[in-house]
């Protein structure tokens, strides 16, 4: 039996969860973990495959969240005497606008990344997220500032036999996030296992060598940033419509850190890494909340993270892949992308 079937068995299992799970709260946890997994998958394209550390990734997530919220709620702005009215849009218009606008910012950051690399790029990306947070906090006319944008409608879909259904139910959101997470995974997989993905990996592994054989590294870095940013924006839009309120804290640095932790502990540069890391660090805090006080939660969270980084520096997925390969005996090839740099 081909190993290819395992991921699909896992998806089938996830699809069955709402049918038998009694506690709706778990569905909520899985859905929010799923949203973060999409964000982590998007970060992994940049961090894991092109090797560029962006510590402002949450900016794209937050931009997506705000764009989706603002387009579905509509807004009006006054510039002196001029008044600009943006009417309410259907939820899916806002959803796609979120992807496009976040992707557009990705284009900007991608072009910038080529001028400033390494530590400077890290600083630029952190500042970018901070600036976004400041705008969200202070442009009260547009964003309501710390008061948050409320009453954001849920996503809706036309379902045969039921008509247009708002996604008020947990199962609907759960399935939507599951489908989009699978699509995000497949999208990254297609890119990574192609000539385009090889160019990204070449940039990560050895930039001068990549240049010397004609790889236009700028171009592929920009492609990676745009795709990554658009996908993070989509995750942000999902988040907005799911929790139906968005405030400037969506841009907090801690969310970027969470995404980085998911990618690194799962295994950066592997396809499954952000999924595994995302499940652990997306669901763990929520599950711990049931049994432990906040302080204890954070300590346990920290211990789990340090233990993984310490014992499995490459991440969980590469470690498992190595185990598996060893079991199958010498000569067994590892999965092409199951390797960290």
């Amino acid at each position: 039996m081909s190993a290819r079937i395992y991921p699909w068995l896992f998806v089938a299992f996830l699809a069955s969860v709402p049918l038998w799970i009694g506690n709706q709260y778990f569905l909520y946890i899985l859905t929010s973990a799923g949203i973060f997994i999409i964000a982590a998958i998007s970060l992994n394209l940049l961090l894991g495959f092109t090797g560029q550390l962006s510590l402002g990734h949450v900016a794209f997530f937050g931009i997506g969240a705000y764009v989706a919220a603002l387009s579905t709620l509509g807004f009006d702005l006054e510039f002196g005497s001029a008044r600009f009215v943006f009417p309410r849009q259907p939820v899916w218009v806002g959803f796609f606008a979120a992807i496009l606008v976040a992707g557009g910012f990705g284009l900007l950051i991608g072009k910038l990344a080529f001028r400033v690399r390494g530590a400077y790029f890290v600083i630029v990306t952190i500042s970018f997220a901070q600036v976004m947070r400041m705008i969200a906090l202070n442009w009260v006319d547009l964003t309501e500032g710390p008061m948050a944008l409320n009453n954001i409608p849920p996503l809706s879909l036309w379902i045969p036999g039921e008509g247009v259904v708002g996604f008020f139910k947990k199962e609907y959101n759960y399935y939507l996030v599951l489908v989009l997470a699978v699509l995000s995974y497949l999208l990254v997989q297609r890119i990574v296992r192609s000539r385009v993905g090889r160019a990204m990996i070449a940039l990560r592994e050895n930039e001068p060598l990549a240049l010397s054989v004609g790889v236009d590294v700028t171009r592929y870095l920009v492609v990676a940033t745009v795709v990554s940013a658009g996908m993070a924006g989509m995750a942000g839009a999902l988040y907005t419509h799911y929790i139906r309120i968005v405030d400037p804290d969506v841009f907090l640095f801690i969310y970027t850190v969470t995404m980085v932790i998911m990618v690194v502990t799962g295994g950066k540069g592997t396809l499954a890494g952000p999924v595994v890391g995302g499940f652990i660090f997306g669901a763990l805090p929520e599950l711990l909340r049931e049994v432990a006080s906040p302080e204890v939660q954070w300590i346990l969270y920290g211990i789990a993270m340090i233990a993984i980084v310490f014992f499995l520096p490459q991440g969980i997925v590469p470690a498992l892949a190595a185990r598996f390969a060893a079991r199958r005996g010498p000569g067994a090839k590892p999965e092409p992308e199951a390797r960290a740099p």
Partner: protein
């Protein structure tokens, strides 16, 4: 006889011309005024003591460094205006003095990356993964296998490049460059650190690369190797050319011998 002297009288189709190139690093003159031509189909070696400016010349030719002055002409293109990846696209491909591979990728993937410019697939097509993309991937894979067999790494294609032995990594470096379909191949000390039998093997490889119609610009310290395979030798010292000509003539040049004294040149050349 390599026919170099006749070539000098009536310059044959020089594939590459380095004209009045100077490189200064904040005061340090790495290259003072460099002029030479590489005729098509030949092997030209650039030699000189450590720090003579050989690698710097390679960096200028392949677009990794902008010269302080001068031009590099390749088939009518001024390479000094082009970015490194565009120069590779014209068929001017270099290897690196320090072993340079994609260590985290398999040997096979290394060569696939090398043949990047043979492919056409861009993001949209990669996402749709049409039959055309699959056909291209197969063609690239076939090409990669051919190159790996050519350098004798065919049996190692599934191995992680970082796990190869030193000599194999050096060969992989050449395979990556060959995969990029060079017309002009610049090899920076390809035999450095190889044992005598590996060097022997490498010499044959260079010969076979030339048979593929590739012009070669070689930087190498192994004088026996240089003198036996070069058509022309250019000797660089302190950023200036002190001798140029067929190996036999250069070997006897008193200034060359002086420049190399203390570097064991006589011994190596003898």
């Amino acid at each position: 006889m390599t026919g170099h002297s006749s070539g000098r009288l009536s310059p044959p189709g020089a594939l590459l011309e380095v004209a009045n190139v100077a490189v200064h690093f904040s005061g340090l003159v790495a290259i003072a005024d460099l002029n030479f031509r590489v005729p098509e189909g030949r092997i030209l070696s650039l030699i000189g003591p450590n720090g003579a400016g050989k690698t710097t010349a390679f960096n200028v030719i392949t677009g990794f460094l902008k010269p302080t002055a001068g031009h590099v002409l390749y088939r009518g293109h001024d390479l000094t205006r082009l970015a490194a990846d565009k120069i590779a696209g014209l068929g001017v491909v270099r290897t690196f003095q320090r072993t340079s591979i994609f260590g985290g990728c398999t040997v096979f993937e290394n060569v696939l990356i090398g043949s990047h410019l043979r492919g056409r697939t861009e993001t949209w097509r990669a996402l749709l993964r049409s039959a055309r993309v699959d056909a291209e991937e197969q063609a690239l894979a076939g090409h990669a296998r051919e190159i790996l067999d050519f350098v004798g790494l065919g049996a190692r294609s599934g191995e992680l490049a970082g796990n190869l032995a030193y000599g194999e990594q050096r060969r992989l470096g050449i395979a990556i460059a060959l995969a990029a379909d060079p017309k002009l191949l610049l090899l920076d000390e390809p035999a450095a650190g190889l044992n005598p039998s590996e060097t022997e093997e490498f010499m044959r490889t260079v010969g076979r690369i030339r048979e593929r119609g590739v012009t070669i610009l070689l930087v190498e310290h192994d004088m026996r190797l240089v003198m036996s395979i070069s058509d022309t030798v250019v000797v660089l010292n302190n950023g200036v050319i002190i001798a140029e000509g067929p190996p036999e003539a250069v070997q006897r040049d008193p200034e060359v011998i002086r420049a190399y004294l203390g570097q064991g040149y006589k011994r190596a050349a003898g």
